[in-house]
Symmetry: D2
Amino acid sequence: MEINPKNNQKPILGVMGPGDDCPPEVGNTAFEIGQLIAENGWVTLSGGRNSGVMDAVCEGAKSRNGVTIGILPGNDTNEASEYLDYPIVTGMGSARNNINVLTADIIVACGIGAGTASEISLAVKAGKPVVLLNAGKTAIQFFKSLDQRLLKQADSPTEAIELIKKYLGES
Amino acid sequence: MEINPKNNQKPILGVMGPGDDCPPEVGNTAFEIGQLIAENGWVTLSGGRNSGVMDAVCEGAKSRNGVTIGILPGNDTNEASEYLDYPIVTGMGSARNNINVLTADIIVACGIGAGTASEISLAVKAGKPVVLLNAGKTAIQFFKSLDQRLLKQADSPTEAIELIKKYLGES
Amino acid sequence: MEINPKNNQKPILGVMGPGDDCPPEVGNTAFEIGQLIAENGWVTLSGGRNSGVMDAVCEGAKSRNGVTIGILPGNDTNEASEYLDYPIVTGMGSARNNINVLTADIIVACGIGAGTASEISLAVKAGKPVVLLNAGKTAIQFFKSLDQRLLKQADSPTEAIELIKKYLGES
Amino acid sequence: MEINPKNNQKPILGVMGPGDDCPPEVGNTAFEIGQLIAENGWVTLSGGRNSGVMDAVCEGAKSRNGVTIGILPGNDTNEASEYLDYPIVTGMGSARNNINVLTADIIVACGIGAGTASEISLAVKAGKPVVLLNAGKTAIQFFKSLDQRLLKQADSPTEAIELIKKYLGES
C-alpha cells in the first residue's frame, strides 16, 4: 500500500494522542515525532488544542520550522496551541475527529485516550494507515483485530518515521 | 450513575454494531435487543442503514411496535432501513457517529466493527454509559482500560436490559 | 415537483425561523403552522431549542398531538424545547442547519433571521422546496433570485399548508 | 470592530462564491482578490474545489506565492483545486460551510450562489465581518437587513482590500 498526495502537495501526517491527561513521556515522544516530521518536509496535523500530544507535536514541528495545522473542536481559537500555523475552527466537538482522519495521509497514534481510540477506529473505517506508538499490548491486539493490514506498530519515533517513509514510497 | 432523560421524553437507547460484514448471530442479538427496548417503552436509535445491526435492531423494535430513529451518514434516505420511523439525514459520513452517541442516553454495542469501536470511544469521551454485548475478550479488556466506570459487559440481551434498567433507575 | 417520503414514513416538515429575537407575531404563526402540520399527520422538525420559532412550532404541534423532532446545536438537551418528542443532539452548532434541511422533505421558513437565511440557502443548494411565510419583500425577491422554482411564498399558515399538500401530492 | 488573529498567526481571509455556475467576470475578480490577499501576506481560505471562485482565488493567491487552504466537502481530494497547499477533507458536504466561516477572520463574498448565501448568513450568525463584492442590489439590501454592522460592500478588489485592512488595523 502506497500513499500519494495529490500533485505537489506535501504529505500530511496526522498525529493523535491524549490531551489533558497526557503522560509526560508520551508528550516527549510527540515532540520528537513532530521534529522528525518537520525534518522530512511533511506537514503536521493535530487536534489543535494547547494540551498533551496536540500541543507537543506542534511544538516539536515548529522547533524544526515545520508547518502545523490544527483541527479545533471549539468555536474559536481560544484553546489553540500557540505552535499552530493554521488553526481550522470546526465548532463541532469530537465529530471533528473524522476530519483529522480524512485530511491526514497517514495517522500516528501517540499514546491512547478515548479520543485517540475513536480516531484510530475512524481511520480504519476510512481505510487510512495507522502507526501505533507508545500503545499498550491490549490496544495493539485490539486494533490489529479490527484490521491487520492498516495497523502497524512502532517502538520508537525513528521506527515510526521508517514505516511512514515506506508508505510514502520514500524509502 | 443514573440517567434521567429530560421531562417526559422516553429514554433513547443507541444500539451500535457492524453493518455490511455483520455476522448472523450478532444480527439476531440486535433483533432481540430491539424487541426488548420496544417492550420497555424506550426509543431505539441506530446508524439507520439497511444493513447489519442498524437494520436488525430496528426490525426487532418495530416487531414490538417500538419507535425507531436512524442517524444516516448519506445525503438522502436511499440506504435507510425500512424499519425506521424517523430517518435523520446528516450527509456527514462517519462524523455522524458522534451524533449517535450524544443523542443516546445509553449505548449498547452489539458486536464490534471499526465504526462501532469509534462509537464506544466517543461515548467514553462524552461520558455516556456503554453496555458491551457479543464483544470478544480483547475488546472488553481494551475498552475497560479506557474507562472502568462507564463500560459494562452483558452476556445476553436480557442481561443488557437489566443493566439499562439500573442506569434508568427503573429496577 | 412532487415529494415522496420513503415507504410508509410520514412526511417531515422542517420549520425554521428566528430564535431569541423572534417577534411575537412570528411565534404565533409558527404555533399555528405546528398545529396544522400535526392535524395533517405530518412530523414537525425544528432546530429544537426552547426559543422563538423552534419552540412555538413544537408547542403548536404537541397541542394537536403531533410528533416533534429537534436537531439541537449543543452538546446536551439543556436548551431543548419541552415540546420535543425526539431531541437529536449534534454538538456541532450552526453546522447542524444542514441536517435540518437534508432531513426535512419540505422547509417552511417562518420569519427571517441569519440562521433561517442560511437554512433557506442550504435548502436551495440541496434542491429542497421552501415555503416562505412572514418574509419581507426584499427577502422574497432575494431568495427567488437564487432559485425561482424551489421558492414559494405563502401569505398565511393555511396557504402554506395548501402549497405543502401540492408538493406531497395530497391535494 | 477590529480583528486580531491569535499570536503571530497570519490573518485568514475566507473567499466564498459560486462554483460550477460561476460567471467568468466573477472568476476574474476572485483571481484578483487572491493575488491581493497574497501580496498582503494573508492566508487564502476557500471551499477548496477545482471550480469557480474556489479555484480562481487559489490560483490568484498562488500566482503571488500566497498560502492557500481549502475546506473540501467530499471524502477525499479528488475534486480539490490544484492550487491548494493544504486541503482539509471534511466529508460533510455543505455542513462544511460553517467551518469556512468559523476559520476565516473575515469573509469576502465574491458573487452570489446558494452556497455563498449560506456562508454569508452563517458569518452573520457567528459575528464575522463580511465584504460583499460583485453582489447585486437585492442581495446587498437583503444581507444588510440581517446585520447592518457586519456587512460592507466593495465595488472593486482594491476597495475590498482597503476594508479588510481597516478590520485588521493595518491601515
